[in-house]
Symmetry: none
Subunit: 196 residues, 4 copies
């Protein structure tokens, strides 16, 4: 198994493959996504996929990254001074995303890959979810400076306090994800984080 030379790589094929993968998931679902289908749809030989990606999961993750927004955008949270309002806005947006079937399917697929292939973990966590978590942490840091959040609060945990419950409810479908739920969560979080 010799390693291919990236300099000679066909950018056209690369894009065709990512587009095909992304569209196929949107159209038929991740379960029916196959390397053969991607290759056929992209008008590409299977080997071209196997040459550059280790698994269909890797193709999909890269497709999501390069299609869905990409990495160049600004993910930072609003900072109006009203921490509660700002967090409510973000959590409501997340709830909305989970309620959008299209985005929900992508999220489902991403999490599935996370579970299936540990080697994929870093890729997904750091590049897809990480930035959002980091941005939220930044907003909390700002609030900390403003004295709205306890100075000694562990902000990594604080972020999980906000997102963990939504994630839990989404994964387990224990109850519907509503704006009211988002608001309740923010209220709880503020209670937990408030300075002594």
């Amino acid at each position: 198994m010799k390693t291919p030379n990236p300099a000679r790589r066909s950018e056209q094929s690369r894009r065709a493959i990512l587009t095909a993968a992304f569209d196929l998931v949107a159209e038929t679902g991740y379960a029916k996504l196959t390397i053969e289908a991607i290759a056929a749809r992209a008008g590409v030989g299977k080997q071209t996929i196997y040459r550059w990606w280790p698994s269909k999961g890797a193709v999909f993750v890269e497709a999501v990254l390069s299609m869905g927004g990409g990495e160049g955008q600004d993910l930072s949270l609003p900072d109006t001074g009203d921490l509660g309002a700002d967090l409510r806005q973000v959590l409501r947006a997340i709830v909305d995303e989970y309620n959008d079937p299209r985005l929900e399917a992508m999220s489902r697929a991403l999490n599935l890959e996370l579970l299936q292939d540990p080697s994929m973990n870093t890729e997904i966590t750091e590049r897809v979810m990480g930035p959002h978590l980091e941005a939220t942490k930044e907003r909390l840091r700002s609030a900390q400076r403003a004295g709205q959040v306890a100075a000694d609060a562990d902000l990594d945990v604080a972020v999980e306090l906000l997102y963990g419950p939504v994630y839990h409810r989404w994964m387990l479908r224990t109850a519907p994800l509503t704006h009211a739920y988002a608001d309740t969560l923010v209220e709880f979080a503020l209670g937990a984080l408030r300075p002594a």
Copy 2:
């Protein structure tokens, strides 16, 4: 396709299938679990599996339920009067479970199935995870009666406040799951839930 008659079902085959499925996951991982492998290991015809279960996920879930503890046991939390201590004990136990490779693999498989097959959701959520959530809710209700938790707190959300973060951290592997982390979580939760 006629529905089979459960009265004539071979209990011996049923047990052999569940045992085989459980052991195979433990030995080779859920990814390599196949109907054919289960049938071969159990010394059973493939049809016997297809006759009684809709998918390999269903076999696995039933295997986990019947092997791993089952449903007959008492899941209720300790109630020493010290809510913080009781919750810490539970969260630490959960953290320990996630750190046990054997149990972690099972949890992984269960969540994977959850993501893959929506029809499996009720089964898994209600029978595997539900009881734990319910027991925790019960303990919180007791604390509520004791005035340690705000009377108007939404206990469903309160439970998620405890488990959501651990779950989030486990799934995303953002940071190690430690007892200290469990304790921090309990502290935050108590802050969020304390009466006004």
Copy 3:
């Protein structure tokens, strides 16, 4: 690799495969014969072919045997008492076969398989060509009894003296295969075999 159980074998699939293989060679030539094409044409899974035959060559040979006349027929040469006339008739018939594009293609394929796969040799030699050689030897034996052939002549070699040259000329295409050529050959052979 477990050996399959011939009792459960589908006779219908077997015939469909052999027919498909035979027809495909006739239509597109042996070079383009693939297992996939046979399976597709026969409406059969590839595995069903791999289960029962070791190679496409084996399928083809069995196809030729079961289609092209089969083994049940009488291959014995005419015995009019005039050895020369009888042999001329046979050699002319062989020359005609080699000149028939359809039969020539089959012969080509058979000989190709012979060269390619030594394990196929016995099968082809004994079941396809052997009977003809044996029948010819039988006719020569009769001539030997009639005193038309030297009593001590090695009949195996005698048979090769007749067929070897035609075969050589056909394979190497050194010159056209005509009835006159067949006659010349018989004349030479009679000269070589005549009693002292």
Copy 4:
């Protein structure tokens, strides 16, 4: 597709390719000979092969011609005056060649190519086998002049009478190729060819 300019052809690459092809057949057999393997072994780009040869068969034939003796040598048969002795010597040598695994493999490959690719026929027949046949014909012609062979005998057929049977027996493996067999063949041939 423009025709390349032979003047600029790299002699070094040509030799490397032929050597690689020849050695690969000797080492792994003709069946496993691929253009890619030749190119890799020769340290040559695939295109260089495709530029100068129409098929791997053509490469191989040229390799055999340029490696195995070549065309410059004297193939003429001994002419001691004793036709039988001279022919026996030649046929025994041929039998020995067929019994040498190395040479046998080459012969196998050559005949396989003959069968597979009609366009290769002239090349192989005329350049590899033709000279031997012609030399033998020349020896017979000499014998004809000496009155040891019938004046009206068709010498093309006479040559086939000698080589056809050996070839037949080799291809079909109907019986072992021995010196005794070679001698018998010569005896038969002399009987067939003797003047009336």
